[in-house]
């Protein structure tokens, strides 16, 4: 936990996940499951180190194991064999999930986190189609959308989230976002100075989704970690105007086409007398 130990509503809180020190122990996953009473994953034969698979309704922290073994042998491995990263909901400032939710179930809490109210969500899954980080899943029993809550209940009780508390290497740090950002910038500067030039921050500034309250220090390009880069961090609503204009243009053409096609041709066989005409139209034409 960062310097300020008092958790005060009205302040923005989040995670700084420093992947350079992650050892892949999954203590965060276990702590999260324990506190939030999420079921464990069945072991599957043939799984690699990563038997969690992805974030979803039951996995709110997921330690990614990304095979980064260089194709050619190059002296020492320099610890480059695996990229490990404890993934989590980013609690985006501009949250795609929140943007599309039709029920108002997704709210921003007094801790500036993005929270799905379980009693409001009706399981339409629009948020799942929107989240660019593959975070949200639908609980098969409850039918509602679930994801990391930034331990909303713990924060309300003045406790830091379970994952960051459990992380033995401080790869996950919890605190006020502004303090975390400062800390992260210092850390990346130190690493750069030590020659670790591949170290970079992701989501600490407004370049992705207006800033991520849960941001990362990465050891490679964001794409390697299945994170969209700044150019690809786009919101669903970008497609509203184009989509509706497409509908409008088609509607206009469709109506015009209809008017052309439905024009009564003056041909003998088409002149079918009819008694079914409503009286209303008797006076017209």
């Amino acid at each position: 936990m960062a310097q300020s130990s008092q958790i005060t509503p009205g302040r923005a809180y989040g995670f700084f996940t420093d992947t350079s020190v992650c050892i892949g122990c999954k203590a965060c996953e276990v702590a999260c499951k324990q506190w939030n009473e999420l079921p464990g994953n069945d072991p599957v034969f043939g799984d690699g180190f990563d038997n969690t698979g992805s974030l979803d309704a039951q996995n709110w922290r997921h330690v990614e194991f990304i095979d980064n073994v260089p194709d050619e042998t190059m002296g020492t491995g320099q610890g480059k064999a695996w990229l490990m990263m404890s993934d989590v909901c980013k609690h985006c400032q501009h949250a795609s999930c929140m943007e599309v939710c039709p029920t108002g179930a997704i709210i921003r809490t007094e801790f500036d986190s993005v929270y799905i109210q379980q009693d409001v969500c009706n399981g339409c899954r629009n948020c799942i189609s929107a989240c660019p980080y593959n975070v949200i899943g639908q609980d098969e029993h409850k039918g509602v959308a679930q994801k990391c809550t930034l331990c909303y209940d713990r924060l309300q009780g003045g406790m830091e989230p379970a994952c960051s508390k459990a992380c033995p290497t401080d790869s996950i740090q919890f605190g006020p976002v502004d303090e975390l950002q400062q800390m992260a910038r210092q850390r990346v500067a130190d690493l750069q100075e030590q020659g670790v030039t591949q170290a970079r921050l992701y989501g600490d500034d407004a370049s992705v989704y207006g800033g991520l309250n849960a941001f990362f220090l990465l050891m490679d390009e964001p794409e390697k970690y299945n994170l969209p880069n700044a150019a690809n961090a786009v919101l669903p609503s970008r497609n509203n105007v184009g989509g509706y204009l497409g509908v409008l243009a088609t509607a206009v053409l469709g109506v015009l086409g209809g008017l052309i096609a439905l024009r009564r041709r003056r041909e003998p066989a088409a002149e079918t007398p009819s008694e079914t005409r409503p009286e209303t139209e008797a006076g017209e034409e």
Partner: protein, 317 residues
Amino acid sequence: MTILAEAQHFVRPPDWTWYILFYFFFAGLSGGSYTIATLFRLRGERSDEPAARLGYYAAFAALLPCPVMLILDLGRPLRFWHMMWNTTPDAAGFNFVYWSPMSVGVWALLLYGVFATVSFAEALVRDGKIRLPLAQGAVRLLDGTLGKLVIAAGAVVGLFIAGYTGVLLAVSNQPVWSDTWALGGLFLASGMSGSAALLMLLTRYRPEAQASAGMLAVSERLYALLELALIVVFVLTLIPAGTLGLTFGFPWILLWLVALAGLAPGIAGLLTSRLAVTGEGTTVAVHATSAATTLAVPALVLVGVLALRAAVIFSIQ
């Protein structure tokens, strides 16, 4: 681990499957039928009135499954009304999120339901199926300009219902869906061509409407052309995104082929007969034509409409 070169999509599909497929299908047919019926009323002559009424019957019938499909698709069907009413303790009130097509669509569907029901009831009264004096009096109000305004407004909402479903898919971060702006127009055009085919099919069972069947055939040709043009736009917009292979790869290409087969009669008709009802440019009474043209062709078009939506929905999930 493969790295996508172009548009990056690291998303989970929402599992919108069969219910949503059939919702999209029926929404397209309902909105399209309402619009065609309205065009008959506003543009056609007195002999087209039976076809117009047929359109309003079809629009109402196709609308009925829509809310059922939508509600059954929810993880918590009994909370469907949360779409309209926000139950958040401090923020209780109506939900209208204009930038979320799902939210807009719920209200539009409700509004369209009113128009479809009114026009359905009106058609029943005018057909003499309802003989209540009260209803007859109400329908008399719809004589003249008011009635025209009502059906014109209903057609606008109907066109929206037939098309917004494509925008709903696009307003996401899913590959293919969010890479194009053409889906809304594509669904609308295919809904219109499907509706023309559906009404052609139904004229078999409503002899008074058969006088209009030739015009329905001509409009189906034009809608098939419009749909084909939008498929081309759809393809062109996916090229820069690099997601073309995702939706047109095997086995989805088979569904696309069915969708194209559904366009074939319309396009072929346009090439051989243009806007004339027959190749010679004269009208033949439709009941004199073979069952192949009045049954098989519309059925093929409708299967194509379904296949198009299935290809778009299932290929990325």
